[in-house]
Amino acid sequence: MSVRAVDATAWEAMYRQHAANLTRLATVLVGPHAAHDLVADTVLRCVAREGWPDVANPAGYLTRALVHAASTAERSEAARRRRELRVALWSRADAPATDQRSGVDALAVLSPTQAAIVFLLYWEDVTIAEAARRLGVSQGTVRKQLDRAKRRLRKVLSDDDHR
């Protein structure tokens, strides 16, 4: 394989600056067990692209790539099996406090786009306009997806409360 882009050190400085937040986003998207690989694979794929040196907003590019990669993984049957297994193992192994457990499971019901929007708005505290810019969607889409995310969260938390 060509490692043209991977040889370059320019991306490394950029990556170090954003690595922690990208990993946090990945954790929200796919959970803590798969986050590490998701970030590594996505960054590797991006920086190896021929057009990478010309990307004007690398952090935004990587954010969208992470969401896309998470979406792709979610569509994979194999990934689905792994996710279910992971959730099962997670549930048994961690046995966290009820509140935290509900939170973990609740976020898992969100689509990658919805999870990314929630992360950007509630962790990074960016505006809807900025979230739209980073994710490459319209502000209207952000609002609609946020509304859907809230409804999904409300439902899953309500179900938990009634158990």
């Binding site: 060509s2 991977v6 590594a40 962790w123």
Partner: protein
């Protein structure tokens, strides 16, 4: 039940607190370097020779030259094997795939698998050799063994459903490198086997001067790849639709095409329409191989539709291929039903081919000349109901590079990128058309998101 912002913030914080340590830049680099076999993320120099048009979902790819596979090198003649067909024709594609481009890409001289060879012992041990490449950041090999003429480094074994294998690299005193994987050799014997590796000469792959091993397959050095790309979309109801792509790379290969020859490469298989597809996790990036008469490497999302398209690939002879090409080209010639033409104030006219809500390509005329260069739609997005939301096209008129596209004003959820800054726009009904000419000499420009557009190859 209400859900407050604080509650959501609490949920996110709980999840973020479980975040692992980020992978380091060095670790990411190692992932690239430590992948000695084929990888889906390689750079290829584009030398587009063939561009075909899809009509009615029929897709094809293939070679123009029709030449047979060449011997990779005098020292690397397979002991057995078959010359595989160089033409592949998919039998069908999912409906959601709307168009394709087929290119012939020049082999990337920098890629690590420019030439490779596979040796097998009577006892079933296998070793695959590829021409190594120089990296600024080299992996730390836990095992090392100097020998006369070089040093062998390896790490392993690694495990997969296909068995255990060991990655290695041999650095010769003259600076040349060989890399690869070995399987079925006990740890104590690896150093001895690797000491018999010899560097490749010119375009030929490295060789193994070990009498216990026989060459069973080899890949041609410097061969042009055939790369076919299908554009499609996928998405979940109520969610955004995301552009999808399926990229198939076919290369000439001598020897029995047996996934088992590819040392320790696959970690999963899928049975689709009666055919077996092998998923390789090279560098942890999924690539799919079709075990057929031809080695096919596919980048795909892994959706069942993608896999079905892969499973449908079949080898055809040159006659059938040529017939399919002419049929599709004829269909493309006959098909230009002008769906809509758009005149911009600058005098640029965009002629859309196909239905308004299903454009297949765009012609542009400028300066009142009647020259109309056709380009396929480069990217597009659709709603879950299949309604187009946007399309963009890269197009050359002479040496002038234009991007033109349209945005539908739909009340949907679908992703629709903004119109590029500085573009000229015209509104027709619920559609906003735009055109923008890029600076002379520009090879790459960024769209409004910073995502690069590439100047199209002729």
């Amino acid at each position: 039940m209400m859900i407050t912002d604080d509650r959501i913030r609490e949920l996110v914080r709980a999840r973020v607190n479980q975040s692992p340590n980020p992978p380091t830049a060095a670790e990411i680099s190692r992932r690239a370097v430590a992948t000695p076999l084929r990888s889906p993320i390689r750079s290829v120099a584009v030398a587009a020779v063939v561009t075909a048009v899809v009509a009615g979902g029929l897709v094809l790819l293939g070679r123009r030259d029709g030449g047979g596979a060449e011997q990779p090198g005098a020292a690397a003649t397979p002991a057995s094997g078959v010359e595989v067909g160089a033409y592949v024709l998919p039998t069908g594609l999912p409906d959601r795939f709307r168009m394709l481009a087929v290119h012939e890409h020049a082999g990337d001289p920098g890629r690590i698998d420019a030439a490779h060879s596979v040796y097998e012992s009577a006892g079933g041990a296998r070793i695959e050799l590829v021409t190594g490449d120089r990296y600024e950041q080299r992996p730390a090999w836990p095992d090392s063994h100097p020998f006369a003429g070089g040093v062998a480094n390896w790490s392993g074994p690694k495990r997969s459903p296909a068995g255990e294998w060991t990655d290695f690299e041999v650095e010769f005193d003259d600076g040349r490198l060989a890399a690869g994987s070995i399987r079925g050799v006990d740890a104590a014997s690896i150093a001895g086997v690797l000491a018999n590796v010899r560097p490749g000469v010119d375009e030929s792959p490295p060789t193994l001067a070990d009498p216990g091993f026989t060459l069973v397959a080899s890949g041609e050095a410097g061969a042009d790849d055939i790369v076919a790309e299908w554009s499609g979309y996928w998405g979940e109801p109520g969610g955004n639709l995301v552009a999808d792509s399926l990229k198939v790379t076919v290369r000439r290969f001598r020897g029995p095409v047996d996934p088992d020859l590819r040392v320790g490469v696959w970690n999963d298989t899928a049975e689709v329409d009666g055919r077996t597809i092998y998923e390789a996790m090279l560098g942890r990036l999924p690539t799919w191989y079709l075990a057929a008469d031809v080695e096919v490497e596919v980048e795909a999302t892994g959706t069942i539709d993608s896999l079905r398209a892969i499973a449908g690939l079949r080898v055809v002879d040159e006659t059938e291929f040529a017939s399919a090409v002419s049929g599709i080209e004829a269909a493309a010639d006959l098909a230009p039903v002008i769906g809509e033409s758009v005149t911009f104030e600058s005098g640029v006219v965009a002629w859309y081919i196909g239905a308004v809500d299903d454009p297949r390509g765009v012609c542009l005329t400028i300066d009142e000349t009647r020259r109309c260069d056709l380009a396929l739609i480069s990217s597009s997005g659709y709603t879950e109901a299949g309604e187009i939301v946007f399309s963009d096209t890269q197009l050359l008129l002479g040496d002038r590079w234009f991007t033109t596209g349209l945005r539908f004003d739909r009340d949907g959820e679908s992703f629709s990128p903004p119109i590029p800054t500085g573009a000229e726009t015209t509104v027709l009904g619920d559609r906003t058309y735009y055109v923008i000419e890029h600076p002379a000499g520009a090879v790459t420009v960024n769209d409004s998101f910073g995502t690069p557009w590439m100047r199209p190859a002729r």
